[in-house]
Symmetry: C2
Subunit: 296 residues, 2 copies
């Protein structure tokens, strides 16, 4: 398979669904809807929703059935970026090469746009007119995975520790906590949600979940590596900002070569979990390799 | 029935469930969990969850089945208060007589605690180990009502317009928009969610929803009236702050006597919608009268 082509088609599918399903930009009140669209269509890679679709496929399900929850994952990811960038949090001016939400719309509307995107994620996932082919019990299970990963024991917990430890030297345990929660939890949930909607049995589900967990941590380590080595223009955001803020990163704690080895090992472990799957898991396999080799 | 006694018992039921179901205060990371508990157990009236339980009862359902979603409504209400109080929003220092979340925990943790409470609402509502007696299809329908009421076309939309129109003279249409969305939507949803979980048929559901919509608007008008006439000590927050901030209120636009008449009319209309219900709707009836006569 051609991964670039696959990703392009999937991205188009997700973008189309998001445009169709979330309120239009000029819907009243336009300020909050413009802010939602601004961040949602700022050129994201759509990694999380694509993982959801690919996991549903690997589990033997239909892409179409997983599309609403795939969109939910992107909505939650986008809300988290808006809130993370706020002055009282990371205080970032740029995101994907564009001014951050609060720079464009002001802090109040940025907070509200984040709140609205998070809420919209659960709205989409529970719309009675979508996912008619999916048993309601599965939908609830998927919603539960989503909410658990995004909450105070998942992503919000990771962000809390990340914010509160800034400026202090990070130890390995804290770093592991932040990375598995802040980024890892939602990436793992992307896969879990797809697996549930796709109808995975218990053994398949466990393998897919483990794949997602390994991949999520590998993704965060390569993110740290890109930040340590990367090229500002390619990334569209300020690089090497993490050490200056005293942020915990893998390269800072383990050095670049060891961080690279760790990412590689995690991706190999993720791939090993897909051994019992047929070729419908090929997109998940290719995505894992892509995460290791990505340059932005 | 003795309403005070009924409210006390229901409040105890909701408080117990919240304590049992949300992460403990010292759960890691403690900062965000402490902040969640601080606002959640700050002495709220629990009006929304009590309405959910009462609506489930009126529809012929079991209180127990509606308890998780009742808690979800309180979680969403609490998150909205934390975010509304933020410096970039209403910039309030006091809430229910206590320093606001950001005053105690700082802005970052206050935002994160709000995010976590909102997420927790959907987590609770989708927990597979709760509400086993409720058909999954109903749970999804209830979740949908909840998310719709809380999102950018509901509560967040109302808050957006409220923030963006401050300091400007409010016209009747804007005021109606803010009040039906910012407070009304979630109160109406409290009733709708209870009706769905309680298994209301279409006609009963429509009546209960209309009851909730009328009640929600009446509640906001009496809130404005309390603010215009109220006694600072009784309310535990600064009064008469709304005109000084140029906030749109009913008394400011229509005067106190006409606002009182409007609230009374709405409560009468709400009660009329309960005519076809038996005595299991008595709590809803009493609550409507209580909203009209409340002093805090």
């Amino acid at each position: 398979m051609n991964l670039a082509d696959y990703l392009r088609r999937r991205r188009r599918l997700v973008d189309g669904a998001l445009k169709r399903w979330i309120p239009a930009e000029d819907e009243f009140p336009p300020q909050v809807h413009k802010a939602m669209h601004y961040s949602l269509f700022a050129g994201g890679k759509r990694l999380r929703p694509i993982l959801t679709l690919a996991a549903a496929e690997a589990a033997g399900g239909r892409t179409r059935d997983a599309l609403p929850l795939a969109c939910s994952l992107e909505l939650i990811h986008t809300y988290s970026l808006i809130h993370d960038d706020l002055p009282s949090m990371d205080d970032d001016d740029l995101r994907r090469g564009k001014p951050t939400s609060h720079k464009v719309f002001g802090e109040a509307v940025a907070i509200l746009a984040g709140d609205a995107l998070l809420t919209e994620a659960f709205y989409l996932a529970s719309r009675p007119d979508l996912m008619k082919g999916v048993p309601p019990r599965r939908r609830i299970q998927a919603l539960w995975h989503l909410a658990r990963a995004a909450g105070s024991l998942g992503m919000v917990g990771g962000q809390t520790v990340d914010i509160l430890t800034q400026g202090r030297p990070a130890d390995a345990r804290t770093l592991e906590y932040i990375h598995t929660r802040k980024t890892g939890a939602l990436i793992a949930a992307s896969v879990a949600v797809g697996a549930v909607i796709g109808g995975a049995g218990l053994r398949s589900f466990r393998n897919l979940l483990a794949y997602g967990e390994k991949l999520g941590l590998a993704f965060q380590i390569t993110d740290d590596l890109l930040d340590a080595e990367g090229d500002e223009k390619k990334l569209g955001k300020a690089v090497r900002k993490d050490p200056s803020k005293g942020k915990a990163t893998y390269p800072a704690l383990y050095g670049i070569p060891e961080s690279r080895r760790k990412a590689r090992r995690l991706v190999e472990e993720a791939l090993a979990r897909l051994k019992s799957f047929d070729r419908r898991a090929n997109p998940l396999r290719e995505i894992a390799r892509f995460v290791l080799e990505r340059t932005n």
